[in-house]
């Protein structure tokens, strides 16, 4: 019997490398539900020095941590001698797993002369429906959550195991949930439901409330009626001869906020947004978490008041100074003497512009130093990911570390702080016996330039990330890419009521794929494609494009099937649209 088990184990262990190089899924099969990280450098909590230890997990929990923790026979062993283990990150506010919503918007009012566009319905008082007004506190994250969303894998690959996920929408999109980033179904993924209310200063696009003044008035109206409705409801259940309460869905859904059972996560990036949200809190008396904040550095004293917490945005402003440097270089001959270059530049500088530039640079620096500054001032904060791309995460963290945030402070803001904020610190945030088995296994100390996450453990489920990296590099060099992708393609992007057309040209030389795009309405010629990733039949790439003075990144994700393709195009903040294409020219 024992022998048979050993053979099984052998076969299973031997099969691991084969499994891990399979490109289909990077999640390792769960057989015994037991994983052992052997001889790893373990940082059990922010502020702790790494210790060499074994970490054993079983059934989603950490069962042993320590240098002498014995390794069960049935454990899937990871020889972690050269690897670093950290508690996995917790995302304090995100859209991870939320489906993209198609929004149809009118401008309010019934059709009439001068009002020929698509209109939403308004009631006899002229108010739109709660949905059109963006006032949907009764919506739970569940309704728009997709457990198969790529964003879950993307953020997990950056080290996140838990996320506080909220629905997308306008002023009050709905209620948030704590999500475990490993579940295969919505029920498995959602751990705690309706733990928060999400709100932001987003007007209803031409409907009431449209502007900041309308939104604040609406918040007052909803809150006061929720409070009143709550009292009315109590009276109705306790006293005789009380008329049945008829408060609306939005009022009912706000009762937990009025009772201070759940906090309002208020997305408030700029300092004025923060002031307005805090004023609303102080006026109405709710619990609030100022969220996705980019400009909170001068409000330290505000965050000492009760029922007010802080979540900082990982969206850092772009550095506009560095961009300019290559341009000046290309203007001058390659052999130009560097000292003469400096003198030419200094003549050209407009002193007024130079002064503006200096102040802009100071402001930029202030944004980058915010996290370190607040951490040193003792203001607790977590981080939100809702305004950033997963691919920029480690670069952003390095920028924060270069600007005064310590590694321990960063780890604290990504683990212990959000676990307390979300009320799950009993279960996660550190590597301790009895806590959820959420761990990052990395090749180097966290956030170091070449540190890669080798494995992620999310509630004990092991994800092998190296397999994924291999997959990308192998397939992009694949020789079959030339035949599949090479040549010129005509594409059509279907934006409601309009079409955008153009061409894509790909060439493959010694395994490297390059490409260019043309756009019908763009007179600037071809734009070079970047980040081209080919994986079997699916191809993704991006290119920079300027719309109304704003530079955005356009991303194509397409599947090629013979001479045609279909997929989606994401135009920065403008949304995602379907795209189709046909090959019109094969390579020579």
């Amino acid at each position: 019997m024992i022998k048979k088990l050993q053979i099984c184990l052998w076969i299973w262990l031997l099969s691991v490398p084969i499994l891990s190089s399979q490109p289909v899924h990077s999640e390792l099969p769960q057989i015994t539900g037991c994983v052992a990280l052997v001889n790893a450098q373990v940082v059990t909590a922010p502020g702790k020095s790494p210790i060499v230890a074994n970490v054993i997990t079983r059934n989603g929990l950490i069962t042993h941590v320590g240098p002498n923790a014995s390794i069960p026979n049935d454990a899937y062993r990871i020889a972690a001698d050269s690897l670093f283990v950290y508690p996995a990150f917790i995302d304090a506010l995100s859209y991870t797993g939320i489906k993209e919503q198609k929004e149809e918007q009118g401008s309010g009012g019934p059709p009439g002369p001068g009002n020929r566009g698509q209109r939403v319905t308004v009631d006899e008082d002229g108010n739109p429906t709660l949905e059109d007004a963006g006032l949907t506190p009764f919506i739970s994250t569940r309704t728009t959550f997709d457990p198969k969303s790529k964003s879950i894998e993307d953020w997990r690959s950056q080290g996140f195991a838990i996320a506080h996920v909220v629905p997308k929408g306008k002023m009050i999109p709905g209620k948030g949930a704590v999500v475990v980033l490993s579940g295969k179904s919505t029920d498995e993924a959602i751990w705690k439901e309706d733990i928060s209310l999400f709100s932001q200063w987003s007007g209803a696009d031409g409907n009431y409330p449209n502007t900041i003044i309308g939104m604040i008035a609406k918040w007052r109206e909803l809150y006061n009626n929720a409070e009143q409705g709550m009292k009315h409801l109590a009276m109705y259940s306790e006293a005789p001869m009380v008329a049945r309460p008829q408060y609306n869905r939005a009022h009912q859904a706000l009762i937990p906020v009025v009772k201070k059972e759940i906090p309002v996560y208020f997305r408030a990036p700029k300092i004025k947004d923060i002031f307005r949200a805090i004023d609303l809190k102080n006026e109405l008396g709710m619990k609030m978490v100022i969220s996705d904040a980019q400009q909170a550095w001068s409000l330290k004293e505000y965050f000492q008041q009760p029922d007010l917490n802080l979540v900082l945005s990982l969206d850092l402003p772009e550095d506009k100074t560095e961009k300019k440097k290559p341009e000046t270089k290309t203007d001058t001959p390659a052999n130009a003497d560097s000292t003469s270059q400096v003198s030419i530049d200094s003549i050209k500088v407009d002193p007024e512009k130079a002064a503006f530039e200096k102040r802009r640079a100071e402001s930029h620096k202030m944004h980058l130093e915010q996290a370190g500054h607040l951490a040193n001032a003792g203001v607790p904060f977590s981080f939100s990911t809702m305004s950033v791309k997963s691919g920029d995460f480690s670069k952003t963290m390095r920028t924060l570390l270069e600007n005064g945030l310590t590694r321990d402070q960063a780890l604290h803001a990504l683990t212990v702080a959000p676990s307390k904020l979300l009320g799950i610190d009993k279960y996660c945030g550190t590597i301790e016996t009895g806590k959820m088995a959420n761990m990052i296994v990395a090749t180097k100390p966290m956030f170091e330039e070449k540190s890669m996450i080798r494995y992620m453990l999310v509630e004990g489920t092991l994800f092998d990330l190296e397999a994924k990296e291999k997959k990308k590099s192998e397939s992009s060099a694949s020789s079959s890419a030339a035949g599949m992708l090479g040549g010129t393609w005509a594409y059509v992007i279907e934006i409601p009521d309009q079409k955008r057309e153009g061409t894509l040209t790909f060439s493959v030389q010694s395994g490297e794929v390059t490409g260019k795009v043309t756009l019908q309405e763009y007179s600037g010629g071809e734009i070079t494609l970047v980040n081209i990733v080919v994986d079997k039949n699916s191809v993704s790439f991006t290119f920079p494009y300027t719309i109304e003075g704003q530079e955005i990144e356009v991303e194509f994700d397409i599947n090629i099937s013979g001479e045609t393709f279909e997929g989606t195009v994401t135009a920065g903040p403008f949304g995602s649209y379907p795209v189709t294409g046909d090959r019109i020219e094969k390579p020579d």
Binding site: G109, P209, I213, G214, E221, P245, I271, S298, K320, M366
Partner: protein, 449 residues
């Protein structure tokens, strides 16, 4: 010389229980134009802790106080702009013809550079108004230009009367009737929308009165659904709010007077009121006030006809009148605008200066605090090189609550506070957004006042 204005968001902490900063200054030997109590030569004005402590000759210099030598200069009360849209981030909630529940005071923009420019024109208080897209717009905010503070609440003129924007004529007709296919489409519709709103306010007030009565008999009486739109209309009828009504034509002005009479409302200031001169006796009889442009009309059909004598005619008929800017540009030289009434109507110096000081203060319910130089009033002062009604005059120093907020001798080129970290050249550098009555409505008009 101490620079009082913090010109960048720094790591310095903004205090949570922030008190409004108050200052001390002694202004010596100026020609003090009190506006209400004559003009005093070689007189000192002492401001302690933000209030005017003394107006006298040879005031003893208190220890450690800043002294400003105003010999040969003119000292007047800080200018008050009764109609402005600066320093707020939202002007029109133009999605409904009746929005009295919104407050522009919720949208104060502490970083609007327009405030510093207004200070550079001697302005110390403004009436930041909702726009004219809706027949009944939002509640307005009287503000002090404490530019340099970061907390929006620091700009609120504490204790000022509540005011609300109404609008007659083309703007609400165009935004809602033409633009959205709902009432009001005509001037008749505007009247109907206003009457309906008052009537609803009345019904709502009755419901609450009934509730208060019923509650005494049965403590389990449920309260009515809370509605700030109707509540605000009730507050107007209860005399708690001063109406500030955008208007041009004489007929529509009389229409509103009739409506207000029917609902028992008597506190109203007409704004723009370009045909006010035609109905000046009626306005005076009602007790209505007027806030006008000095000489601006013909920018759209309903305002094709007016006169530069409008302000003087109104004043001579006993209407409390002010001259306003409604613009981030005109606000910098309201003293010029007031001076035009010397040429068109031969007002006296004090009458002309009252148009931009004590009169707007009365219209905003702040005349016990500002609008003249009197002991006990706020230390809001503007100092000019020449007489403020002279075309050659230059504003030199502007003081709010005893704090120097503008000093021509210490006037840095870049007075922005919040700098966009991604903006290479500021948008105001030759490309400024124009404030106006129809801001935030989607319709684009070449003229919009």
């Amino acid at each position: 010389m101490k620079a009082y204005i913090l010109t960048a968001l720094s790591f310095c902490s903004i205090p949570f229980f922030g008190q409004i900063p108050k200052g001390d200054i002694l202004i010596q030997n100026g020609t003090v134009i009190t506006v209400t109590q004559g003009t005093l030569e070689n007189t000192d004005v002492l401001i302690r802790n933000g209030k005017i402590k003394a107006v006298d000759i040879n005031i003893k210099v208190p220890a450690g106080i800043r002294v400003f030598d105003a010999a040969g200069l003119y000292v007047m009360p800080g200018i008050i702009d009764a109609h402005s849209h600066i320093a707020i981030d939202a002007v029109n909630e133009g999605t409904h013809p009746v929005t009295p529940e919104v407050h522009v005071g919720d949208a104060i923009d502490p970083f609007d550079i327009s405030m510093y420019r207004a200070l550079a024109g001697g302005v110390t208080s403004i009436h930041a108004m909702h726009g004219s897209a809706n027949a009944i717009g939002g509640q307005c905010q009287t503000m002090k230009l404490r530019y340099g503070e970061s907390d929006p609440n620091s700009f609120v003129f504490e204790g000022a009367a509540r005011t609300i924007k109404f609008a007659l004529g083309e703007n609400p007709m165009r935004v809602h009737g033409e633009g959205r296919g709902i009432q009001p489409r005509t001037r008749m519709g505007v009247e109907r929308v206003i009457r309906n709103a008052f009537q609803e306010g009345k019904i709502y007030r009755d419901k609450w009165r009934q509730y208060e009565t019923d509650k005494k008999k049965n403590p389990n009486t449920p309260p009515p659904v809370f509605n700030e739109r109707h509540q605000t209309m009730a507050d107007i009828m209860d005399g708690k709010i001063i109406i500030q009504c955008h208007s041009y034509r004489a007929d529509e002005i009389l229409m509103l007077l009739r409506v207000l009479h029917d609902f028992g409302v008597n506190r109203v200031t007409f704004q723009h009121v370009n045909e006010g001169f035609k109905v000046a006796p009626e306005l005076a009889k009602f007790g209505a006030m007027a806030s006008v442009f000095s000489d601006w009309w013909s920018y759209k059909f309903e305002v094709y006809y007016s006169t530069a004598y409008n302000a003087a005619i109104l004043v001579r008929n006993g209407v409390i009148t002010s001259i306003n800017s409604d613009s981030g540009e005109l606000i910098r030289h309201l003293f010029h605008e007031a001076a035009k009434t010397k040429r068109y109507g031969q007002l006296t110096d004090d009458e002309a200066l009252a148009l931009i000081t004590i009169n707007p203060a009365m219209q905003l319910g702040i005349d016990s605090r500002v609008g003249s130089i009197e002991v006990g009033k706020d230390g809001d002062i503007a100092i000019f090189e020449n007489h403020p009604l002279s075309i050659y005059t230059i504003p030199l120093l502007t003081v709010v609550d005893g704090i120097v907020r503008f000093d021509v001798k210490n006037d840095p080129k870049d007075m922005r506070i919040d700098i966009d970290p991604e903006e290479e050249t500021p948008t105001y550098y030759g490309n400024e957004e124009v404030e106006g009555c129809l801001l935030d409505t989607d319709l684009i008009f070449s003229h919009h006042h």
